[in-house]
């Protein structure tokens, strides 16, 4: 690789662009500004090799890079300028941090001699983002820049992925150094799983009568859905998912019970509590999933398999904790475990599934379940679906039948309202600009609807389905159940006409209030080569059920 023509003198901005391309990046999201003028200049010069999408707000750019990473498995990249540009990224970075998405954020900063003096558009970006990144850097020597970017990519995608931020002062972007291209970095090697523990786990599985696999985001990230399915089929276990785990395995598989937890599907949550062995893979036992930690599955032994050793015993004590790559660990377990059949368990769970169907909501005009199922009838298995946060998100998780991994983009850990538009934009671009669906609510949509402009400018075939009930549905639900119907600031009472709004941005739009209108709108929407907004009127008193109240367990489940 060495040769005179490969060692070139370049400025910091050029080095950033070259190293990004070297690391396999061909698309970045961002918003220009004074402190990143040099970087944007180089972006312009390299616009045939790397695509830049400008958004309406840096938050949208961060969510787009995040959505791009979730849908593609690649590292998402976002640029922002110093000061307010960097602070506008914070919510997006925190969203990626809590859901373990690989992201590299590159921010400009004031020149080195001006740092620490309250200069124009200066903030302590490093200090502000330290708690919400896997690692962050400020580069003061241009000759360290290339290696810093490479290391950032490695850290972002290795082990448990996460966001990494690089802060580059403006003078460092202008300074010059030699650049030597290097090959794309590899993920850091995993620790091998403990052989003795694997054998212990195999023992437990062979002796269990009611095995349940709790499958999470880690299975999506490590692309291990097939292995989890194989295990379930070999040992006749049922599979429940955390919200982040959905889509890893086709919902059509008879072992899949769907999401478990606070708003999980009935059979999934019930089976979780009745199991005698819980094989937890790539989950972190968030409080949304466990409810009362002491009573969580008190009948079962928990086997916890995760790439991050810090998660083992963090929230739920594991009978056996296995640190390692899920695919590798489960493959070994599958090889050694006996093929099993549990007829009694099957009968028990089938009864739970029958009960679940009896708890389904009545056939009302435009019930959210119907909206989601209707949209699903038009989409492919490949269609990427994004959501915002709230009731619509829970309904999507409960009723949308996912079949392929990486088709569900949702903010789980941070629960960021406003995630949807940016994520849908990023996910659409990652999926070769194929038609993408966003389920959102009138509250969430109101937070980042400015990104409609981005979708229109880039002619992205986004279908934005707004479950419009005129209220902040999820908060209102809690106020109904736990605050004696005191609806404090959740009745929005806005006069916003979403159809006119979408048209003002240059998008198409429809308003629907029943199934036929929805059908007509969807038929047309799926032929339009650009963003389409569908405003669906939903009943404001619709609750997301089932619900296990906070700190509760299966005994407290509310089904109707």
């Amino acid at each position: 690789m060495k040769g005179a023509k490969y060692n070139m003198k370049m400025n910091g901005a050029q080095i950033i662009i070259e190293t990004l391309i070297e690391q396999g990046c061909d698309c970045v999201f961002g918003y220009p500004g004074g402190a990143v003028l040099n970087i944007y200049d180089e972006l312009y010069k390299s616009r045939d090799r790397i695509r830049h999408i400008i958004t309406a707000h840096e938050q949208g750019a961060a969510h787009a890079a995040d959505g791009y990473a979730r849908a593609s498995g690649k590292v998402g990249v976002v640029f922002a300028t110093s000061g307010p540009g960097a602070t506008n990224l914070v919510t997006g970075i925190a969203t990626a941090y809590l859901d373990s998405t690989p992201l590299v954020a590159i921010t400009g900063n004031v020149p080195v001699p001006l740092l620490g003096r309250d200069s124009f558009q200066e903030v302590d970006t490093l200090g502000i983002t330290m708690p919400i990144t896997k690692h962050n850097y400020i580069v003061k020597d241009v000759c360290e820049l290339a290696d810093t970017v490479r290391e950032a990519f490695t850290i972002a995608k290795s082990g448990r992925p996460g966001p990494v931020l690089i802060d580059v002062p403006k003078d460092v972007q202008a300074a010059v150094c030699e650049y030597t291209p290097m090959p794309k970095t590899e993920k850091q090697a995993y620790k091998k799983p403990n052989e003795a523990k694997i054998n212990e786990v195999v023992e437990f599985i062979n002796n269990s009568k009611k095995p349940y696999i709790y499958s999470g985001g880690g299975v999506v990230i490590s692309e291990a859905g097939d292995v989890v399915r194989e295990l379930a089929e070999k040992i006749d276990a049922y599979i429940g998912f955390s919200m982040m785990g959905l889509s890893a395995i086709s919902s059509e598989n008879r072992h899949c019970l769907g999401m478990t937890g606070m708003h999980g599907r009935y059979a999934s949550t019930k089976a979780n509590s009745e199991a005698d062995l819980i094989i937890a893979v790539g989950v972190r036992f968030s409080d949304r999933a466990t409810g009362n930690k002491v009573r969580y599955s008190k009948n079962a032994k928990v086997i916890h398999i995760d790439i991050d050793p810090a998660e083992i015993d963090k929230n739920i004590p594991a009978y056996i904790g296995l640190t390692g790559d899920i695919k590798e660990t489960l493959t070994k377990i599958i090889e050694r475990v006996k093929p099993l059949e549990h007829m009694e368990w099957r009968q028990e769970v089938e009864k739970m599934s029958a009960d679940e169907i009896s708890f389904y909501p009545e056939d009302k005009i435009l019930h959210p379940k119907k909206v989601i199922e209707k949209v699903r009838s038009y989409t492919d298995d490949d269609t990427v679906v994004a959501t915002d946060v709230g009731q619509h998100q829970m309904w999507t998780a409960q009723y949308y039948r996912f079949r392929k991994a990486r088709t569900f983009l949702t903010s789980g850990g941070l629960g960021t309202m406003g995630f949807g538009m940016g994520a849908a934009i990023g996910g659409c671009i990652a999926n070769n600009e194929k038609r993408t669906v966003l389920f959102t609510g009138d509250g969430s949509f109101g937070m980042n609807l400015n990104e409609l402009a981005t979708a229109v400018s880039n002619e992205l075939p986004l279908i934005i389905v707004i479950m419009n009930n005129g209220v902040l549905g999820m908060v209102r639900q809690w106020q109904t159940l736990f605050y004696e119907h005191r609806y404090s600031s959740t009745t929005l009472g806005r006069k916003t006409d979403f159809v006119k709004l979408a048209e003002a941005f240059g998008a198409h739009a429809f308003r629907v209030s029943d199934e036929n209108e929805l059908d007509e709108a969807l038929k047309k929407a799926f032929t339009i080569n650009g963003p389409v907004l569908i405003d669906c009127k939903i009943d404001m008193d619709e609750n997301v059920l089932p619900m296990v109240p906070p700190g509760g367990s299966i005994e407290n489940i509310i089904v109707k």
């Binding site: 490093l126 330290m130 708690p131 896997k134 690692h135 810090a310 963090k314």
Partner: protein, 170 residues
């Protein structure tokens, strides 16, 4: 060191911001730092932190694992107090009268400390030793009246051939 306390030996990169990173981790996870010391090691690329923490087994377990996740942390070890030499350093300014001076001098000798400042009504005493020895002297000093004091974070090294070293060759 009381029962709920434990000692962490941590090797970290000698980079700008590492101390902030580590103390930030402690604060956001809600762990209590009782004392902290950091300095360069024999290898200028690395610093060594010695942290005394109060917490139960759950916290002990979590801290080690969470620290290990930080990119700048190269090695973390829970040090066994029985196989570790632990030293703290104390500077303490106490009130002195002609009557109390002899007793104080005797105490300083017994504790193998040194008088490093001396005038008609105050004395600064410097003592090095195990945390319990320093605490004992501070108790004694309260009788005369402590004007001000400065106690450094504990230093700890494993006895004998055991070394705390970064795992990768860097």
């Amino acid at each position: 060191m009381n029962k709920e306390q434990f000692i962490l030996g941590v090797i970290v990169s000698n980079h700008f911001g590492v101390l902030t990173r580590v103390s930030g981790l402690f604060s956001r996870r809600g762990y209590n730092i009782d004392s902290l010391n950091v300095s360069e090691t024999e290898n200028p690329n690395f610093s060594r932190m010695t942290i005394i923490v109060s917490g139960d087994d759950y916290i002990k377990n979590q801290i080690v694992k969470q620290l290990a996740k930080l990119h700048d942390v190269k090695k973390v070890e829970l040090m066994n107090p029985e196989e570790t030499v632990i030293r703290e350093h104390l500077l303490i300014k106490i009130r002195v009268t002609p009557e109390s001076r002899p007793e104080i001098s005797e105490a300083v000798n017994i504790f193998r400390g040194k008088v490093v400042d001396f005038n008609s009504d105050t004395m600064i005493i410097e003592i090095t030793g195990e945390p319990s020895k320093l605490s004992a002297f501070i108790e004694f000093a309260k009788k005369s009246g402590i004007i001000e004091m400065c106690r450094a974070g504990a230093l700890a090294l494993n006895r004998g051939a055991l070394i705390l070293q970064q795992e990768n060759n860097l």
